[in-house]
Amino acid sequence: MKHIRKQFPEVLALKDISIAVMAGEVHALLGENGAGKSTLIKVLGGIYSMDGGEIFIEGSKTDIHTVHDAQANGINVIHQELVLVPKMTVAENIFLGREPVRHGTVDRIRMNADAKTLLDSFDLDIDPDINLGELTIAQQQMVEITKALSFNSRILVMDEPTSSLSEKEVNFLFDTIRKLKKRGVGIIYISHRMSELFEISDRVTVMRDGEYIGTVITQEATPERLITMMVGRKLTSYYTRTYSRLSEKILEVKHLSDGKLLNDVSFDLYKGEILGFAGLVGAGRSEVMKCIFGLAPFTEGHIIIEGKQVRIQNASEAMAHGLALVPESRKKEALFPVQSVKFNISIRILSRFIKGIFVNDRREEAITNNYIRQLSIKTPSSEQTIGNLSGGNQQKVVIGRWLATTPKILILDEPTRGVDVGAKAEIYAIMNKLAAQGMAIIMISSELPEVINMSDRVVVMCNGSVTGCLPKEELNQEKIMHLATLHGMPVQS
């Protein structure tokens, strides 16, 4: 792609971008949200038309105006959000829109056989005749990749393919990518996870504000250098942490079981500490938090806050006990997408400025602006619709909503998922400040570097049980992964 330019009504989204992808190469595309990565991919995939520049495929100039053009030229994009139909079978999904036909009807036998052949070529043990919805997210992703490759792709684009995958599933995906490299497929790989880029990519191109910043060979780069290229300034530190744990115990969870997944979960939380929760997806970490927060029932166990046993039935009682929960899925469980930043921040503390029918607008505005300023939420105004903000700023709004309730215990479930590097560093700095002020923080995270660098202690869970609790000095990836995959007896912490 040479000198690609894309003009939107209000902004120049891409300014003279040139990038070259070799056959058999994994070329990572790195940049903060809004850097123009997705726009570039959409131009390549035929969703947007470009306003300047040329695309060459295997040396010859190619015009791409529609998705069909792109596919005909061997370009396939796997989007961040899966675009498969859950209620159709795997084979139907793979051949959607180009089903093999015999006598005017779909030839199901051939379709299933062809799908089987394709799946087998990746050593995927998936029955082509079952409904897609019954598969795990990772398996669905593999189906999507299989589908993309069935078009005889020469160029495959993957937009954040690992954002909803567990560690094990990521490894499987990477094995698949390596197989594709051997077949000579050129792969453009977009991810926010630095460690992945170093594991899988050959070269990295960095973009910022729609501009091409540079391309480096991955092995010759360091994370610090890439981050500096991305944000355009040197971040003094990525992980901010001053350890200041106090000795005062604030929360005790004892022998918690829910009769389904959770089995005898116990741990303590102290003021001023960040307690990390590590484990594979489905280990039961979020479920523990939902039990504590009164959003899910449990059959056995006690929850003790500041020495008193509590029985919390719903989120508003949890709030009354000084608890706050920033949930795992921002979109599903936290945001009111068509409402303003102000509405989203103030929804938990309406009694502070609404008395009967008298709304104290000034007070609401003051509370909102306070958090916009202190959490440096980048928004044109407090009236901005939250759906228009970037993921990192949306997350800060949700954090602000809960800080406004002045909690003593803050539970953050995957606080930096789908958040770009700059905003991640800011969220870490916020967490550090809160802990230093004496707030007790629980952080669930599937990103091991984040868990290791931010936590005072880490609780590791596996299959609904706590398999270990590691102090800061003993934290390393191997140890955590060992405990996270230990399907054995629960270990007392």
Binding site: L295, N314, A315, S316, E317, A318, M319, L325, P327, K332, E333, A334, L335, F336, P337, V338, Q339, F343, I347, R348, L350, S351, I354, G356, I357, F358, V359, D361, R362, R363, E365, A366, I367, N369, N370, Q374, L375, S376, T385, N388, R401, L403, A404, T406, E426, A429, I430, K433, L434, A436, Q437
Partner: protein, 333 residues
């Protein structure tokens, strides 16, 4: 992040002029339909000299009033992400119960009206109870109660209208205070109450929150069931007020009253810019929407256009107005 700590605010904030701001906001949000309304007035005023006469204006407002009682509640329900199809049947049921108690049982006016209100509100409460405690979609639940309430009205009356010859009963819907017809006085109260609930109260914020993302509302500790229950109950109450006013104006409780009322109310809400997918919308828009529908019927009548054609015109106007609104929103975002 300049400072080193993150603290809740205690300051009172800077003074800002909100009233001017919200009037401007209102004009901006409803620009399209307001221009439409003004054009409609202009054309009708030119075509028909009667249109701007006081008698006719009150006539339009009186017709708009009963639709607006329901449309105010419907606005809340649609913001909540729901729908209420039973409102037309509640009109009939509360009308015949009130009329029947006076005509058959010689009940006092107060007792009869109270009973009518209670019956209609009970249907709304039933809707709210079922919708908040089960996963049956509101469309289905209120489709069922729409049939049940209509059927009950027929059973109670044996299918015949109940004539009520009572001046005091007639005063409720056809009387005046000074120059102002009674239904318009109720309308003022209902519009004010609805406006305050939606834009000034905690309950209102909760309605927007549940409609915007019910899962997030639950995670934020909002009592979703209570919010849903109240909103449908309110709709039942508004529908029964409409039912009693209509019965009073017609001197009779009629089991066929209010047919299609749910569609008029929904049309007013949608014309007013409330999104059918929930989470956004305002009472102000609904008022304008109801006025457009009311003036359109009135104007077409004055111009002597066949009432069958009026349906066609109404349908076309709804489609165009909503399309323009949709188009505008997609351009700005």
């Amino acid at each position: 992040m300049g400072n080193d700590t993150i603290q809740p605010v205690d300051s009172r904030g800077k003074r800002q002029i909100y009233i001017g701001h919200s009037v401007l906001q209102f004009l901006k949000e409803n620009m399209g339909i307001l221009i439409g309304l003004a054009l409609l007035c202009l054309i009708l005023a030119i075509k028909s000299p009667v249109f701007l006469s006081r008698a006719n204006i009150f006539n339009v407002l009186r017709q708009v009033a009963t639709n607006l009682y329901i449309a105010c509640a419907m606005t809340m329900i649609i913001i909540l992400g729901g729908i209420d199809l039973s409102v037309g049947s509640i009109i009939a049921l509360s009308g015949v119960v009130t009329g029947g108690l006076i005509a058959f049982d010689g009940a006092s006016l107060a007792a009869a009206v109270t009973s009518g209100l209670v019956v209609g509100t009970a249907v709304g409460a039933f809707n709210g109870f079922v919708i908040s405690t089960t996963t049956i979609p509101p469309f289905i639940v209120t489709l069922a109660t729409m049939n049940i309430a209509r059927g009950a009205a027929y059973v109670y009356t044996g299918g015949q209208p109940i004539r009520v010859m009572s001046d005091s009963f007639n005063f409720i819907g056809a009387g005046y205070v000074g120059d102002i017809p009674m239904p318009i006085i109720y309308l003022l109260f209902i519009v004010l109450i609805s406006f305050f609930i939606l834009s000034q109260s905690k309950l209102g914020r909760h309605i927007y929150a549940v409609g915007g993302n019910s899962q997030a509302a639950r995670f934020s500790g909002i009592k979703i069931k209570r919010v849903i229950f109240f909103t449908y109950l309110f709709s039942g109450l508004m529908s029964s007020i409409a039912g009693i006013v209509l019965a009073s104006r017609m001197f009779s409780g009629q089991p066929t009253a209010g047919q299609g009322a749910e569609m008029d109310a929904i049309a007013a809400v949608v014309l007013g810019g409330t999104s059918m997918s929930g989470g956004s919308g305002k009472i102000g828009g609904t008022i304008i929407g109801a006025l457009v529908i009311g003036m359109l019927s009135n104007g077409l009548n004055l111009m002597g256009i066949n009432s069958f054609w009026q349906y066609v015109v109404k349908g076309v106007v709804i489609l165009i107005a909503v399309y323009v609104d949709y188009f505008k929103k997609n351009v700005t975002t």
